[in-house]
Structures are given as structure tokens and as C-alpha cells.
Symmetry: C2
Subunit: 233 residues, 2 copies
């Protein structure tokens, strides 16, 4: 349901469809292993067995165990972005409302898929380095947030050092965009605050504390939206 493979299956030869289907099944089993036993519990041999195949057969679908993880990771980035964007339709709502929708969708996805959230934002795998396109996927979710943030009352007229350092990033990721200087800073703060609450929640660090994490999350987002400019010292 939250998976994006199914869409691209049409318009291809039967063999390609068969391949895509098998690859998708393998990934789905990998995700269930991930959910049940963590990253260390994902095993090519076990996946193959569950599909009724032998271990080496999977090398038709993934170059190695690490390649499988690369796919799982970039799928997760894409699905998270898709989900957030899908939950913030173009219906003329005001920017604060739309930001809040994005935020809630972010959290909802993470709570629905905690192992996948942790796969991308938890402990990184040693020796693993994300391919370049992954970084782009990660950024996709930020694009609508920046658009909404640009419509909020500005934080202040002058840019400080952080804003200056972020300027090339805007130019690189969205050439031609005419954002106020503090927008990227706010976009990153938006992401950082959501991640702060959500990652602790998903990892179970709030369970003993007796409060509803949703309230904390909403408060953090609210403060971000209302946020006044704070120079960094």
C-alpha cells in the first residue's frame, strides 16, 4: 500500500513483469524481516527460502545484500516524500495549515513504518554510503515545505551566518527559486524538529513518561511556524 513499485509494472514484457514482481516480493519479505528482527535479521538466504527459491537465485535480483539495502533505503525516502506530498493537496489552504499537514503526514508515516523510518534515520550501516540520488529523494519532501514557509511572515530582514551558508544549497537544489534568505533555515529547522520528536517516539523513549507524544509534536511544529528569528548566540 505504501509501496511504490506496483505502479510502474505495466507496459513491459511478461518477463520484465515477472522479474519486477519477484523483486518486489523479495523486498517485501526483507521489510518484514526488518520489522521483526532488525537490520541484522535481513538475510538473502532466508528471503529466498520464504519465496520457495534457493539462496543464489536472489543474485538475479540484487547484486549483493548491500544492494538490497540500498533499494530498501531509497524506496523508503521516496515513499515518505510521496506520502507527505499526497497528504498536502493543492486546495488553497493557508501555508500554516499546509505545513502542519506535511508535518502530520511525516509523523504518521514514521509511526506506521517505524523500522523503515529507522532504516533511513536511525543508526547508519557501517561502510554503507548512500548513492547520490538518495540525497535527492530525501530532499523531495522539503520542497513543498519550503514553498509554504516562503509564504509565512518573514523572520527578519537581515541574514546571519547560517542563512549565508545555506544560500548555495537553495541555488543548487532549486535553481531560480526566489526565496527569502531565511527560508532554507526554517525548512531545515522544520525537518530537525519533526525528527527530534518522531525519532525519540519511534525508538520508544517516551513510553515511560506518561504523556501523549502527539501533543509535543504539535507544540514543536506550532513553535516552528510562529518562530521568531533567533540569532544563534
Amino acid at each position: 500500500m505504501l509501496s511504490r513499485e506496483a505502479a510502474n509494472v505495466a507496459t513491459s514484457t511478461p518477463r520484465e513483469r515477472y522479474r519486477a514482481q519477484n523483486q518486489q516480493e523479495a523486498k517485501a519479505i526483507a521489510l518484514s524481516q526488518l520489522a521483526e528482527s532488525g537490520p541484522a535479521g535481513v538475510s538473502l538466504n532466508a528471503i529466498a527460502k520464504q519465496m520457495g527459491l534457493t539462496g543464489p537465485a536472489l543474485y538475479r535480483y540484487f547484486g549483493s545484500r548491500e544492494d538490497l539495502f540500498t533499494e530498501l533505503i531509497s524506496d523508503s525516502y521516496e515513499d515518505l516524500a510521496d506520502f507527505a506530498i499526497a497528504n498536502d493537496p493543492e486546495d488553497g489552504a493557508d501555508p500554516a495549515t499546509r505545513l502542519r499537514r506535511l508535518a502530520r503526514a511525516y509523523r504518521a508515516w514514521a509511526l506506521a513504518e517505524p523500522h523503515r523510518y529507522l532504516l533511513i534515520y536511525g543508526t547508519p550501516m557501517v561502510g554503507y554510503s548512500a548513492p547520490a540520488h538518495t540525497t535527492r529523494s530525501a530532499y523531495r519532501m522539503m520542497v513543498p515545505a519550503l514553498r509554504h514557509l516562503a509564504l509565512l511572515p518573514p523572520l527578519g530582514p537581515e541574514a546571519d551566518e547560517l542563512d549565508r551558508q545555506l544560500k548555495p544549497l537553495i541555488a543548487d537544489r532549486e535553481p531560480g527559486a526566489d526565496y527569502p534568505p531565511t527560508v532554507m533555515r526554517r525548512g531545515i529547522a522544520f525537518w530537525v524538529r519533526m525528527h527530534g520528536v518522531v525519532s525519540l517516539e519511534v525508538a520508544g523513549h517516551f513510553t515511560q513518561m506518561g504523556f501523549d507524544p502527539a501533543l509535543l509534536f504539535e507544540a514543536e511544529v506550532t513553535e516552528l511556524i510562529k518562530g521568531t528569528r533567533t540569532s544563534y548566540m
Copy 2:
């Protein structure tokens, strides 16, 4: 240096000292494996070999591999709290300054010991549940922060739902403390914001973005300190 074992070694029999020393060495090797190969790379057999022992010998020191992790985790919580507290001496500085010191120490520890930070705040080990005293250790670092926060200008007179839910937590953790109703909320937000920046930084998510994470961290802390009250919706 950041380890806390060495202190308690005195005043014990030679055999106890020998035991403590060996156990400490085993943990140190475990931490180096953790740093180098991640949690999955921590192996009792490999630790034993590096100490010049055989595998089973380690069962004199740890009940199981999981017990070893329990120790590594609670040591990490303690060391992080110790480090933060040690860097915020009682010298009469104003509360904002002292909060900032705590925050900077938190980040400094995490950057110095990224694998240990991720051990406690990264992807949780499946099937592992922290023993009760661990939760207490985790809370230790919050105590001085709450004290400082209580001295800041209050956020507002009335308590909202989140504040109400947090009241029992104060009563439980610090019976008798007479904090304004919004202090615990601010303490948790303090922790959450530090974690938001620090965990993304430690996991390398900022490396491609070309800005100095220290600036972002300072800005987040500043905003928390200045923080105005935001009802959650």
C-alpha cells in the same frame, strides 16, 4: 577518559580488582568493535581473542551477549550525564548560560562518541528492553536543565493539556520540587531539540548540505531559551 569504571576500583580485594579490570577491558574492546563495525560487529568470541582468552572465558564476566550490551548502554547514559553535568559547574552563571553549557556538552559528547550516542538513541536493538535503572540514568541529565529552566521567564500562566500530562512525571522523578507547570515541557523540548540536530549530524545527514551544524544547534537552543508559549494547535 570518558569512562567511569576506573574510579570504583579501589577498596576491594585483588581478585575483585582483577575481575573489574578484565571486565573493563572487555567493554573497551566491545566499544572499539562498535565504533568500527556497528552493533552487529560486537562479538564475544572476537573480544576474548583480542584479550588473549578463549570465547567461553567471557561468560565469567557477562551472562550473555545481551547483558554486555545492557552494560554498554547504561554506561553510555551515565557518561553522557556525567559529562554534561561536569561541564556546567556551579559558578553563579545565569540560567541561560548554564543551559547553553549543558547543551554544548551534550553535543560535544555525542560528536566525540558517535557510536555510543547511536547505541542509546539510534535504532533500538530488537527484543532488547532497557532495565528500569537505565531510564533513571537517562533522566539524570535533565535534572540540572530543569533547574535552570525554572529560573527563566515563564512561558505563560496557564497550563495546557501537555503540561497537565507532565505533572505526575515531575512528582515521580523529583518529589517535592516546586516547578512552574511549564518547566517539564520545556525540559523535554530542550532534550528533543538537541537530539534533533545532534542525531542527524551524527548520522551524517548534514554532510552534503554545506552548512555548519554548530550554527543550527546554537539557533535551536537559543530559540528554546527564548521560547514563547505555543499552545499545541
